[in-house]
Symmetry: C2
Subunit: 351 residues, 2 copies
């Protein structure tokens, strides 16, 4: 147990609850026996007010009839040192007799910090953090081509004091989102649509502009393969000053929709933060995407790319200001993964 790979199961546990834990982080924890070879318990953050991942994993081990004495814990976030609605996780690990803890990221939350020190003071062999916090020095090269970790949006939100923002784009390789006559259904692969719905269900909120609602009247729910909406839905946010029809599909159940009458990106994000929103997916048109890029607020990009040329039409990003007049102004992102969706390509980038 000495590299990033060991966090993959804990990260998958965290991902499984992403979208249901805010304002808490979707953490995953795996407990091993004293040899470090056999898994004895697994846990992920419960919805706010419920137990944290470490406590869930300890309970799981005991429920399995396992002893946690001399066990090892692998967890995606530094165990908290904070008594909030639940007791501190670091103390729970000490009480359970755990002797080694590996954690992926430090906890940047000022009220929860100090968990690793507390564990060390109690003689526990603590290893971590394995990665620097996002938006710290050297972050880019550290993260290049690594998979996305489920606690990242929460980390960014905590560090930047605003929700984590992922921009979703879909375009041709020459950068067009629709042809001149506005025909645009070019990502036809069933696989791509399924990935979008899977993505939505793990977000706290989705943002679109009033223009998209008026033009396409989308439902924007997260639906399974058979079209059935998932029990848990992200908040659907419409941003912009124009009114939209009250019978727009975006207001349909299940889930809630919210019209924030502002076209100011920072204002909208501040409003969402006050509602406990940590992780948002922006599924806007080219102007909304441009507004976020212009504001310098894009923590991640999900680019669904058709290996095709249109040569003319509507561009994937529209921006009033001549944002990047020289190469020094380029907004460069870090590639995290490339995957294939039928005949299309999904490129995941982060700040």
């Amino acid at each position: 147990m000495a590299d990033l790979l060991m966090f993959s199961e804990a990260n998958a546990l965290g991902h499984s609850v992403a979208g249901s834990t805010s304002p808490n982080p979707p953490v995953g924890c795996v407990l091993y026996d004293s040899t470090g070879q056999r898994v004895i318990g697994r846990g992920a953050t419960e919805p706010a007010g419920g137990a944290h991942a470490e406590v869930v994993a300890i309970r799981d081990a005991l429920h399995n009839g396992e002893s946690t004495v001399d066990a090892r814990a692998v967890v995606t976030l530094e165990p908290c040192n904070h008594t909030g609605r639940t007791g501190p996780c670091s103390q729970a690990l000490i009480d359970a007799g755990i002797t080694r803890v590996d954690f992926l990221f430090s906890d940047p939350n000022p009220v929860a910090v100090g968990g690793a020190d507390h564990l060390r003071e109690h003689g526990i062999d603590v290893h971590g953090p394995y990665l620097p916090l996002p938006y710290c020095d050297e972050t880019r090269s550290s993260f290049q081509w690594l998979p996305q970790f489920s606690v990242e949006p929460w980390l960014v939100s905590t560090v930047m004091k605003r929700p984590h923002v992922t921009l979703k784009l879909a375009s041709t390789i020459d950068g067009f989102v629709a042809a001149s006559d506005n025909t645009s259904k070019w990502i036809t692969s069933e696989q791509a649509r399924r990935v979008v719905h899977e993505d939505r269900r793990h977000r706290d909120a989705i943002i679109v502009g009033t223009g998209t609602v008026k033009a396409d009247n989308p439902r924007l729910t997260a639906r399974g393969e058979d079209g059935t909406p998932y029990p848990q839905q992200p908040l659907r946010v419409i941003m912009g000053q124009r009114s939209i029809p009250e019978d727009s599909h975006i207001y349909d159940a299940p889930g809630r929709a919210l019209h924030i009458r502002s076209h100011d990106v920072k204002e909208v994000l501040a409003d969402l933060r006050s509602r406990g929103i940590v992780d948002v997916l922006v599924e806007g048109g080219p102007r909304l995407t441009g507004a976020f890029l212009k504001a310098g607020i894009a923590d991640a990009i999900q680019l669904y790319q058709a290996p095709a040329f249109l040569l003319a039409g509507y561009r994937n990003v529209e921006c009033d200001a001549n944002l990047a007049s020289t190469l020094d102004d380029i907004q460069r992102f870090t590639p995290r993964s490339v995957s294939t969706l039928g005949s299309d390509i999904l490129l995941s980038l982060s700040h």
Copy 2:
């Protein structure tokens, strides 16, 4: 031995001589002993007038002290049945006592066709073709995400009666090749440059426009890591009616340069075909790229992609005509591979 994987070593042998065999195809051949487990000989096409891959592989086996009786041959192209400057390969395989032949593509060359039938008539167990010819029905789905095979340019050239054309593009994910002030050195990674030079050395010719020569004055030689030009250089072709300075670097040794005073894509390609050119790489600016796409002549795309946004500047493709006014006019390509070059991405597509 029953799938595409078995061709990978033969294909690599063919690739190693690509750029030196035209007008003949860069074929690779691997000979196995009768068990099909042990390699006894390897061969690739010699320069025009020299031996074909099968004959080279048989010679290699005999040179290694191996017997070719009851041996098996794996070859990337159907063995020819044609007595040209060399005898027919199918007869050479029969004479060597080979009992099984697996070939990847049929030979579409009317004068060479019939090799597989000739082998079968002599009782040889023949398997192939494993892939359809490019530009035939069902080709796209057959080739999706397969690696590029070294005989493909020759196959396309033979079927389409013009050189195979690869367009090289380098741009941001919003489709820009340079910022508004024309600063454009955004692909800075050493890895990307190395791949471009490796690519050039395996082509018969490189095409640029007069505008690129006047603006950038490039050398366009294929150079190794230390900057030394490779012994074998592609023909450097400048297309366009404007004159260029006689002391332009593109005329510098080593290798040859040729100015074809035409901006007509088909005319230029016909001229090159008459000179025995099979495989060209178009390294033009956005207008030249647009001219090839507008003419519908683009067999492959090498897209070097920076995970970055410029939001404004010079587009990667410029085209006078409103080529794709509706989605039905989209020029869609088949993804063949995605690779990473430092922090950039190389997307290889084919027709």
